[in-house]
Symmetry: D2
Subunit: 358 residues, 4 copies
Amino acid sequence: MGSSFGNIFKIHTYGESHGVALGVVIDGCPAGLAIDESFIQSELDRRKPGQSKITTQRKEADEFEIVSGVFEGKSTGTPISIIIRNGDQRSKDYSHIADKFRPSHADYTFQAKYGIRDYRGGGRSSARETVARVAAGAIAKLLLKHYGISCDAYVSQVGSLKLEKSYTELDLSEAENNIVRCPDSSLAEQMIALIDETRKNRDTIGGIITGVIKGTPAGLGEPVFDKLHAELGKAMLSINAVKGFEYGSGFEGVKLNGSDHNDAFYKEEEQIKTKTNLSGGIQGGISNGEDIYFNVAFKPVATIMQDQESINEAGEKVTVSGKGRHDPCVVPRAVPIVEAMSALVIADYLLISRSNRL
Amino acid sequence: MGSSFGNIFKIHTYGESHGVALGVVIDGCPAGLAIDESFIQSELDRRKPGQSKITTQRKEADEFEIVSGVFEGKSTGTPISIIIRNGDQRSKDYSHIADKFRPSHADYTFQAKYGIRDYRGGGRSSARETVARVAAGAIAKLLLKHYGISCDAYVSQVGSLKLEKSYTELDLSEAENNIVRCPDSSLAEQMIALIDETRKNRDTIGGIITGVIKGTPAGLGEPVFDKLHAELGKAMLSINAVKGFEYGSGFEGVKLNGSDHNDAFYKEEEQIKTKTNLSGGIQGGISNGEDIYFNVAFKPVATIMQDQESINEAGEKVTVSGKGRHDPCVVPRAVPIVEAMSALVIADYLLISRSNRL
Amino acid sequence: MGSSFGNIFKIHTYGESHGVALGVVIDGCPAGLAIDESFIQSELDRRKPGQSKITTQRKEADEFEIVSGVFEGKSTGTPISIIIRNGDQRSKDYSHIADKFRPSHADYTFQAKYGIRDYRGGGRSSARETVARVAAGAIAKLLLKHYGISCDAYVSQVGSLKLEKSYTELDLSEAENNIVRCPDSSLAEQMIALIDETRKNRDTIGGIITGVIKGTPAGLGEPVFDKLHAELGKAMLSINAVKGFEYGSGFEGVKLNGSDHNDAFYKEEEQIKTKTNLSGGIQGGISNGEDIYFNVAFKPVATIMQDQESINEAGEKVTVSGKGRHDPCVVPRAVPIVEAMSALVIADYLLISRSNRL
Amino acid sequence: MGSSFGNIFKIHTYGESHGVALGVVIDGCPAGLAIDESFIQSELDRRKPGQSKITTQRKEADEFEIVSGVFEGKSTGTPISIIIRNGDQRSKDYSHIADKFRPSHADYTFQAKYGIRDYRGGGRSSARETVARVAAGAIAKLLLKHYGISCDAYVSQVGSLKLEKSYTELDLSEAENNIVRCPDSSLAEQMIALIDETRKNRDTIGGIITGVIKGTPAGLGEPVFDKLHAELGKAMLSINAVKGFEYGSGFEGVKLNGSDHNDAFYKEEEQIKTKTNLSGGIQGGISNGEDIYFNVAFKPVATIMQDQESINEAGEKVTVSGKGRHDPCVVPRAVPIVEAMSALVIADYLLISRSNRL
């Protein structure tokens, strides 16, 4: 269990970090959608390793192949299967970690759960798995674009360097103009310097990504358990290294009084709006047509270039040595993943909402 | 959609705030579990309105009836249906809000979604719905108790009054000894005073609940999308008024370096443990046997005893007046709800894990 | 597991034969549907015991109560919960079968599965459970009526007495004019005589029900596993005592050549039709707009008024004596159940189909 | 929707007849199962076209590749993805049927549903899709073999040539000794002659496959909607060209009296058995440990080598000419498909049953 997401616009992913391939089957994409393959590739490129000096220097082509569900450039309503082959998974030597439990990785928990695991590069628990999410998310984004909905994200914090401005004060398109994907260029420089310094210290650091969804009609989201923000939260928390999710006023909002927190309704040109938006565009779990915004907290990457004490499968003390090429900070490459998961949630709820009324 | 939760231990709820009844159908409880009805009632009583001066003074008996699935005191493996009748839903006059959209409530979004809504007390969007969760959660707790697992929660923040100690430094059983359910008695007094003052100001205030799950075996949780903390996060975010969820190091953890954040493994008496627990008992989405702990942020209650500007269904400006008896702060009564949702998640994942291996 | 049916128009049932109540929660009925309570009651009455001399003489009121999801006579989009209380489940003495395994009943299999069972009247395995299906099916029928779709059924065989005419040669409304629900009045008389004779012999007999669905638009049904007839077949096979399902040409069709079996397309007044309909209105698992028709085979009722050899839980030889008042033939009362299950399938697939296209 | 099957042992398939590839993702196979690749290939070979003179003469290699979920020869508990590339899907000319609706095919219904379709060889509606089922079924069979359960099938009828013996009187292993897969060698010869003659007449013919499942423990199957035979029936009805399903006494059983139909229990060497088995190994939807047996009716293949009248997308009259190489009778190649679907159902229910009890 665990490799499926969504209800109507539903995805099923598979693949290990160093297996033959990763992929996704998308079942439930409405028929007739133009599938822009260059857009899918550009999204994969935003997530790709080796894209800048502050990401891992590993090289993976991340070229995809659509093997079903698209005919003459359009979705047919049947499952869209996308495969991304792993470039070179041969012969690489993982014997030094084969039976060791790397600290704060999933080696031990997979072993405890299954009694067997593909230890090469973390196997199924590797963040390499997110390549399939980004491919599926690209299809969801194309669907949402058709309906005038956008899902954007940017880096709003690295370590203690925090972007204090709200997304409403920023030009979000600036985020793609620097390698850390922060829309404030001067803070971006500081963030880049911090990540670079951390890397030189053979260490890693955490960060926060802010997501913004615009153009959502009022009425998306289901009462009680499948509230829109609950599903969005699950989507974000399912991304590797995520430790927290908040939307609208979030954790800070608990300090407020109701009289300051409530968003007053008004009508403008036949549209119902709210004067403030501490609700984060969602009330009672259902979108109200305002922007949806949220924060996602990522812990520092567990793989560090330092020796660490641990144990192996036999329970013996061992040293885990940092080797290979890894990300010193995950948030720059996680921006397209956050966007992809947002798009998958909204696409799904958009289709679900078609059954609301007679 | 939206009124079901879980995969194997699965619940389906129904009912409106001022309808005939609320209830839950639990499908998937293993056969042979002794169903302690007095325990279920005691859990409902912890959530019940009118239990102290800092909660709403409304009176609801919240008496339940089990109408199926239990035979001679034990679960039979068939659906357990529990009904809680609403005491007195007649004749109450809701005409003053029938067509008004109360600020930061779900009136507008339900109307936008369905084109019709039961406006009495918020209908399905009312927090009264959580009575069904607590009843189901009580059954889940009984199941978990059988396997030595406990799910506890307490209030760790009201407004800006924050409990700075970790749960490991506290006696959690103290939480039930005061009406705000904070295990630090002196802080509890301050919290009570703050809530009482807020109430007198005809206002409301937010807060944070911390949850702690002990006794979980290593191996619960599913890779990729259904990570244990992702499902736990969804469960918490689905509770009325929740704006955020974090587990382990959470949002603060983003500031750390990996070398400080990683939890070192060691072995003690045939058991694998970690020296620190910033992971929050979950690695790669799967429990590692350490305590699971998390925070849930609740916004201030939207219903305030003040006049507020808003609009009605026709789009006309109206005044929404605060009437009736409402909670000035939701967290004291939300403690058993957080526990119930934790228990439902763990019970479900415990059963799912039975299929891990040959 | 097992007590839920449907994907979008989804139902969850509960209740034991001699428990407190049976019921159903319908999640996913679109908002705005007028809920005609007298229609629901009339459907329940068609299934009710004691309605004629050829059914069981047990008396059950089968009065229902809607406790949620309906406001001012219309569905609100939230779960519709319907409860049917069992009239008199007290004190009845079941000690004579408490530990015996009745032949061809589910006593042994429930015991083998769960290690515990409510032995009173078969508990959850009793056909009394279908009262909840009929209540839910009535709501589904109301939804389908709104879209011009009807789901009818009638008895086409009792024992070896077979109605040789096709449904197209019959006036189906005649079925409700006799107690066996066969639209051919002279054959109906023979069937009634046969059932009556069987009853006098303290025995039981099987039969076949034919279902006919009219007004379905082309395009309902999902490729591959969730073909319309596959879901319809599952729905029928889930009814107590059903041993077989066939649609269109069915089992007889295997003898034909393709050149005789194929249905030729033609166009009439802007509508695409087929000259014959051996396909049974479904091609590739998707409705083509022609009538959907099918047969459902019911075995003879297992409870007979004769002594039978069996064993008890301890494995000892025992005699099971026929007692009480039971149906000598299940098909007359099963007609509304077949209709209800048809309606549930079509309602669900109608809503699913809303997501087919952009 | 529609391309997923199962609850815990769950499969997701994709692919079009003349697309790049077909495949399946199996999520929920327990970890530690030895994956015998040669067995998977042998199962695919049993379904492969061109295997004898009575099947289509098309050549497809049907070679598969496992790209995830297996490590060092064993399942790891993560999704097993299997891909079967289409040999030669280039340039073939389908222009003669591109806009025509072939009689009793899914061309029209797919067009009505989606407004677009991959017309090459039927696209997603082609029986070529079943190659993915057989691959997944092979994994399920390996799992069941581990627990001593077998799923076999054979041809019991072609046209009006019917095998009158019960499976208990036959040596089922004989079925693989002739090209029609009927365990009675003399009847097999007649069947082969009939199919051959039908082929020469440029026509097709239907048939019946009987399935037999042995070694199932008592207790598999879920009450009410997910009865074991209901899921089995859905599985069979989802196979291309299937028109009917019956198990145990089936349609013939309706003629019997209860006193003849009931299966008496007895105990033999600590095992509870029934003297007869008209129940077909399932009572109340739950297996009782006896053999499960059932019949599946297949209509004559719709593609015939004759000219047929039809219409095109524009509604104009057209002639559909029979071209290419097609099966004159589908049942010989459908035997491994019936087995595969049986195995998928039993594997899933076996895992589900692990949650029955404390």
